[in-house]
């Protein structure tokens, strides 16, 4: 991760009040949000439904006008087109022109970034391969499944090789392989110095990829910090031992209980369902290699980056 810590996104006292046709306030979706996201960070914006995550993101992109407060994105106002040329955005729902094919969609967005035809054709080819949609590249996206549309949405967010990537629930609708790939992509992009802001309801996903998170509730920032800091339980220690047989485990446990005078909990962790799924659907008995690798110049493979523990673990409280 790059050392520089200049803020890529900075909001101060950000408020958004939605109004009805008669300009009467209907809901205050964001209430005085102060947020700072630094260069090269992967930042997770969490919160229950309706807590104002998407509203915040839309304000960062100049799609919604804030009622009060200031926003700086890449040092500029939210609707500055120079700044937007460096931003990739995946909306909560992949809003796509249903009559266009994925290829046409990517060419369309490439032309909005001013890419030449040759550049656009090449980028489109790379992105279609990356999101594994080459087989459906010439079918209208109107007939796509939710996950396929999501993949097109993801590809269009990367069309300009962004410096700042804003992903609103990127894994929603994706199959486990797709989610894994998105997480790998985010990690790879972050390694390349891209700043990522993402929202997700899948906390495990956020935990896997984010450096820092903020939790919004009804428009108010309730918690913010590094995941490791937020999640650390200072009064608990966990050991993990591979290949420990039952009598030894019981002996260790008894020893620990005798020594500390506290109850020790012993568990045999199972493989995560995600990892199991990835193993089952691995094609041709091979590890599934992330198709984004050539595009990013890095080789990533799904199961290896899975941080879920698979060995015997002995959590103690």
């Amino acid at each position: 991760m790059p050392a520089s810590k200049s803020p890529v996104i900075e909001t101060r006292g950000l408020r958004k009040v939605f109004r009805d046709f008669w300009r009467r306030p209907t809901v205050e979706a964001v209430k005085g949000l102060d947020l700072t996201i630094n260069d090269g960070e992967v930042f997770g914006l969490l919160g229950p439904n309706g807590s104002g995550k998407s509203t915040t993101i839309k304000m960062l992109l100049g799609l919604l006008r804030p009622t009060a407060g200031t926003i700086r994105v890449l040092g500029s106002a939210p609707d500055d087109t120079h700044a937007k040329a460096c931003i990739g955005y995946l909306p909560e729902v992949s809003h796509l022109h249903t009559f266009l094919t994925p290829r046409e969609t990517l060419m369309y967005y490439a032309s909005l970034f001013g890419l030449s035809r040759a550049q656009a054709v090449q980028r489109t080819r790379e992105l279609l391969a990356m999101v594994d949609l080459e087989h459906a590249a010439d079918r209208a996206v109107g007939g796509f499944s939710k996950g396929m549309a999501r993949r097109v949405g993801l590809a269009q967010a990367l069309v300009n090789a962004p410096r700042l990537l804003i992903l609103d629930e990127p894994t929603s609708g994706l199959d486990p392989i797709g989610s894994r790939e998105v997480k790998d992509l985010v990690c790879a992009l972050a390694k390349g110095g891209v700043t990522v802001l993402m929202t997700s309801h899948l906390l495990a996903d956020v935990e896997d990829v984010c450096d820092r998170v903020a939790i919004l509730d009804r428009g108010v920032l309730c918690a913010e910090g590094k995941i490791a800091d937020l999640l650390r339980q200072p009064d608990a220690v966990r050991f993990e031992v591979e290949g420990l047989d039952e009598p030894d485990a019981a002996a260790v446990r008894a020893e620990l209980e005798a020594r500390t005078g506290r109850r020790v909990r012993q568990e045999y962790p199972a493989m995560s369902l995600e990892r199991y799924f990835l193993q089952v659907v691995a094609r041709d008995g091979q590890q599934r290699t992330f198709a984004m690798a050539p595009f990013l110049g890095a080789t990533l493979s799904a199961p290896e980056t899975d941080p879920t523990p698979t060995s015997n673990s002995l959590p103690m409280t």
């Binding site: 839309k58 992109l61 799609l63 609707d79 040329a85 369309y108 032309s111 300009n160």
Partner: protein
């Protein structure tokens, strides 16, 4: 890789974006079955009027011409206002506008590109119906005095070619869809327009009696009506079309452009239904503009309404070309300027309304 500072680069980018958005709007609009049905209805009605014509209205071909122009105005208004309303408010509600504006696209660029896309659809439609009108007028019964025949003649070949052109365009569109997986709506829409243009060009190769050129002198010339002259030598190509219709049709196109701009502006804030309703109101009041203004005091609601709304009577001058009449090109120029002013005002208001519009 991406354009950064520099005004010319920014302008180049804006042009590129405008072209992309306008093109997507055009494709989206004409691949809608309803757009194609509107074009098909207008063209077929225009081409079939001469077949069922039982009255001359004092001039050969007048009924065909007037109904062609009326189809152009009525169907064109529905198409222009409907497309503008649907494409702008549709994109705002379904989120594709937000997706585009999340890219480095200015809101003004987006809206103007949308308006240009709608204008392109309208112009394609207009071209198709204009050609059909020219064909219908030529095809309808005319009194001719020819060395071989004197009396009323209906140019059935031209009408059949016009209708056959539509049929062929549909078949080609179906084949392109089946074999090339091309969009049927787009091929059909463009194909029907193209077929009418081609038939218009083809009418120059034969006369009203169906005789192929080249023909010599009197044998060639069957121009009916006042302006009919005899060629001295061989005639190789002679379309016998009433080109005086073109300025009248241009005026109709200006009216359609005004409505496209108005609907685009309204759709930035309103759904398609209310947009169309307001357009219909403006149409009625605009046509009544003259009578509203007559006798109205300078400062009055009537005067204000008549002053604010575009006076559509300026754009409906089909009587001016009756019995050999002409519309001066200077008038067309002035009307173009008037229409442009209306469009700029409407789109300017639209841009202001869209600037603060929440997209999400």
């Amino acid at each position: 890789m991406f354009p950064h500072d520099g005004q010319s680069r920014a302008r180049g980018l804006a042009l590129k974006q405008t072209a992309a958005i306008a093109r997507a709007t055009l494709v989206e609009a004409i691949q809608q079955p309803v757009a194609f049905l509107i074009l098909l209805s207008a063209v077929m009605t225009t081409l079939l009027v001469p077949v069922f014509q039982f009255h001359r209205f004092g001039e050969d071909g007048r009924l065909a011409r007037d109904s062609g122009l009326a189809c152009m105005l009525v169907f064109g208004l529905v198409l222009a206002a409907g497309t503008a309303g649907r494409t702008v408010s549709g994109e705002i509600t379904c989120g594709t506008a937000a997706a585009a504006l999340g890219k480095p696209v200015r809101r003004v660029t987006f809206l103007l590109a949308k308006a240009l896309g709608v204008l392109a659809v309208t112009m394609l439609f207009w071209l198709g119906v204009l050609c059909a009108t020219l064909l219908a007028e030529r095809g309808s019964a005319h009194f001719i005095s020819h060395i071989e025949y004197t009396g009323y003649v209906m140019d059935v070949i031209t009408l059949v070619l016009g209708v056959a052109g539509v049929a062929v365009a549909l078949l080609v569109a179906a084949a392109r869809h089946y074999y090339g997986r091309r969009r049927f709506g787009v091929s059909a829409f463009v194909g029907v327009v193209l077929s009418q243009v081609l038939v218009v060009l083809a009418t120059g190769f034969y006369n009203r009696l169906g005789q192929l050129y080249p023909l010599l002198g009197e044998a060639a010339c069957l121009d009916s009506g006042a302006g009919h002259a005899h060629a001295a030598g061989w005639v190789f190509y002679h379309p016998e079309l009433n080109l005086r219709v073109i300025p009248v049709a241009l005026l109709v196109l200006f009216a359609l452009a005004i409505f496209a701009a108005l609907a685009t502006a309204l759709a930035t804030r309103l759904p398609t239904g209310p947009t169309l309703a307001i357009c219909a109101g403006v149409l009625l009041l605009g046509l009544a503009g003259d009578s509203l203004l007559i006798g109205a005091p300078f400062w009055s609601v009537r005067g204000l309404v008549a002053g604010l709304l575009p006076d559509l009577q300026n754009f409906w001058l089909c009587d001016a070309v009756a019995r050999g009449g002409r519309i001066a090109w200077r008038y067309v120029g002035a009307a173009a300027l008037y229409a442009l002013t209306c469009c700029v005002l409407f789109l300017g208001a639209g841009c202001l309304a869209f600037r603060e519009r929440d997209l999400g």
